[in-house]
């Protein structure tokens, strides 16, 4: 009896394994008249929120736009419709890696769009390199971007590094301090994960060099939901500037807490989430003067047109940081395909060296990185406008001190 069971279980086991292996042997035949594009973005799990705001709507908007216009244009002038293969990576790198393998080796899609998040983009980089796909790593903020671009030459890093954003912020605050509008004390909090650490470790020396004193400098864990204690400490620190290297829940929570406790620093900066379209609602309509990471040239007609289109298609405007860049990366992809076709190597070379016309203006990558970025933005008159680099075209003038809540 017992032995019999054991044998059956082995049979069952080998059967399931066999079916697992043969399962992928049925290939999804890519038809010639379409281009298959695959992506595995988080629809569930902790990354779903970010992906749901920044990545997925733009992918869907772009595919819809392209297909409505008759498809992607090939070098020979023919048009091919986009066919999407979409998976959920469940916010787990383990699932993500396997899904990319699936897209590349079973579905054999023509192109793979990247997932949301720094960690996710890094996790797939070696695979993308191995399969030869170009990787438009948009939503990845890392100081090691140059290193990665060198390591995987078909990867493109398009959102800068933590130091860039920190330096941009310090620049904004220095100008205000030099003008005498704020004192040289700063209260800064940072979320304890790779992103927050990157920013704070870039910001500390930058603030010091600019002659600022960090009178409050603490990190808080992911998942913190109550910020009353932190904000009250920051309020009592005597700093005119409040800086948070934070994720959306923290950015929102700190805003609300600051408002309700009547904490009115002259400069109020938050990170991810500050450029989200829902932010003014969260700030109860008092977002004016709040600074955050990113920004767009709100006066540019292209951006305005993109915002309108996005609003119409998705139901709400895009976020004013990585959304436009995500969309721009897709436009770059489309233009590169029009110039060189679908050959991965040619495509990668073209993306790396070409110049493209996108919603964020004319784009040319430097060493596989997008450097022409907005580091700091600010809510002004209901729009999130870029304010730094101050010398870039389209930069708005910062409003410091921020009006009281």
């Amino acid at each position: 009896m017992k032995r019999f069971t054991r044998r059956t279980s082995i049979c069952a086991l080998s059967f399931t394994v066999a079916s697992a292996i043969t399962l992928p042997a049925v290939p999804a035949v890519a038809q010639d008249d379409t281009i298959s594009i695959g992506y595995a973005v988080a629809r569930t799990g902790p990354n779903a929120t970010g992906a749901g705001i920044t990545t997925i709507p733009n992918y869907e908007l772009w595919v819809d736009t392209v297909n409505k216009s008759g498809g992607l244009t090939m070098p020979d002038g023919s048009r091919r419709m986009i066919e999407v293969v979409e998976y959920d990576n469940r916010s787990s790198n383990e699932d993500l890696v396997r899904t990319i393998e699936r897209l590349a080796s079973q579905d054999e899609v023509d192109l793979i769009l990247p997932p949301w998040g720094t960690g996710a983009n890094l996790a797939i980089a070696p695979l993308m390199a191995r399969f030869g796909y170009p990787q438009l790593a948009v939503t990845a903020v890392t100081d090691k971007a140059p290193e990665f671009a060198a390591r995987w030459d078909r990867s493109f890093w398009m959102l800068g590094g933590g130091h860039d954003y920190a330096a941009g912020l310090v620049d904004v605050l220095s100008t205000a301090r030099d003008a005498g509008t704020i004192n040289d004390k700063v209260a800064v909090v940072s979320v304890a994960d790779g992103f927050g650490i990157d920013l704070i470790s870039g910001a500390r020396p930058a603030f010091e060099e600019a002659g600022f004193e960090l009178v409050y400098d603490e990190s808080y864990p992911l998942g913190t939901s109550d910020f009353a204690a932190i904000m009250s400490e920051a309020q009592g620190s005597g700093a005119d500037s409040f800086v948070a290297f934070s994720y959306p829940p923290g950015s929102f929570g700190m805003t609300k807490t600051a408002q309700s406790m009547g904490y009115n620093p002259k400069a109020f900066y938050i990170s991810v989430g500050g450029a989200f379209p829902i932010y003014p609602g969260i700030a109860d309509g008092k977002a004016e003067g709040v600074m955050a990471i990113g920004g767009v040239n709100a006066d540019s007609p292209a951006i305005q047109e993109y915002f309108a289109r996005h609003t119409e298609f998705v139901g709400n405007p895009p976020d004013s940081w990585a959304s436009a860049i995500t969309y721009a990366s897709l436009e770059m992809l489309a233009q590169a395909i029009e110039r060189v076709g679908l050959d991965h190597e040619a495509l990668a070379t073209e993306i790396s060296t070409g110049t493209f016309d996108t919603v964020i203006g004319e784009v040319k990558l430097e060493d596989n990185q997008l450097r022409d970025l907005w580091w700091v933005g600010q809510w002004q008159g209901g729009a999130f406008r870029a304010i730094n680099p101050a010398d870039a075209e389209g930069a708005s003038t910062p409003i410091i001190p921020k009006p009281e809540w």
Partner: protein, 303 residues
């Protein structure tokens, strides 16, 4: 002897499998092998003792972190050795203090443990080393990872088989049936439970260390993903946690079902997963193998 030959042939076949499958097929094999290992290692301790541990990811994640921290400083095999040692030490400390907790208290404790480890590592990295994400740039192919995981899984099942025949396994089964009888028969409850817990933890830690190079980038929030703990439990229970092949039999189909669900119904995946979970509890409380046996016994009675 035939008992040994079939699994060995299967193992050899599985070892050659990468030659015949796509990269995705290999990814599936790695995933399946990982969960077979995790579920079997989990069952090694929990299967007979009925201690539902949700600390799987505490060890799995620690293993991954060891690899991330040490991969540049030490040769690969030494990192694995270290990971095993750290897992064992951690399990011994935890086991000594907690294996007297029973029922739901142990469940909650083990879940809290995973969270605590994650928070402490985060705090340490942020405040002491000043980096949180770590990179693993090792020249290890997916195939190597698969072979290592396959070997670890096979070793786990072999170890389980050996334990089932040993005094330790006998003691574990008695403890699961009736702790009082076990003690009055001369079994040292604390020691037996601790040994099994440590063995299980070492395997879990090694599994984490072996898979981590696949993700390149390691961060506490990524490697201490509680879903891993939950999946491990449900897989082992589905197959039958107190049988040698039960965890493997639960892990493989469930892994494939989840894969299929998440590729075909990405939006409603959690709903299916929830229903599946409830279904297992209601319909197969003792696992597939026990269900099959019951069915067969019933048929025997009828005929």
């Amino acid at each position: 002897m035939t008992k040994l030959i079939i699994p060995l042939l299967a193992l050899v076949a599985l070892a050659f499998a990468p030659n015949f499958v796509s990269a995705y097929g290999l990814g599936l094999l790695i995933g399946a092998a990982t969960y077979v290992t995790l579920a079997s290692a989990w069952a090694l301790f929990s299967g007979h003792t009925h201690y539902v541990s949700l600390a799987t990811v505490a060890f799995y994640g620690t293993g991954a972190y060891c690899m991330a921290v040490l991969n540049e400083a030490l040769p690969y095999w030494a990192v694995l050795l270290c990971a095993g040692g750290i897992g064992a030490t951690m399990a011994a400390l935890v086991g000594l203090s907690t294996l007297r907790l029973q029922g739901v208290y142990f469940v909650i404790f083990s879940f809290g443990l995973a969270e605590l480890v994650r928070q402490l590592i985060t705090w340490y990295e942020v405040n002491v080393t000043g980096t949180l994400g770590r990179y693993i740039f090792l020249d290890i192919s997916a195939r190597d990872i698969y072979w290592q995981m396959l070997a670890l899984g096979a070793a786990t099942i072999a170890l389980t088989a050996w334990i089932h025949r040993s005094r330790l396994g006998m003691a574990l089964r008695v403890i699961g049936d009736d702790e009082a009888v076990a003690a009055h028969s001369g079994i040292n409850l604390a020691r037996v439970k601790l040994i099994a817990f440590v063995l299980s933890a070492v395997i879990l830690t090694l599994a984490g260390a072996i898979t981590s190079p696949r993700y390149v980038y390691v961060e506490p929030a990524i490697v201490f993903n509680p879903t891993v703990s939950f999946l491990t439990v449900i897989m082992a229970l589905l197959g039958g946690a107190n049988r040698l092949w039960g965890p493997a039999l639960g892990a493989v189909p469930l892994f494939l079902v989840f894969e299929w669900l998440s590729t075909n119904f990405p939006d409603s995946y959690p709903i299916f997963m929830g229903l599946l979970f409830i279904g297992v509890v209601f319909l197969l409380p003792d696992g597939i193998l026990a269900g099959i046996e019951k069915l067969r016994a019933r048929r025997k009675v009828q005929s």
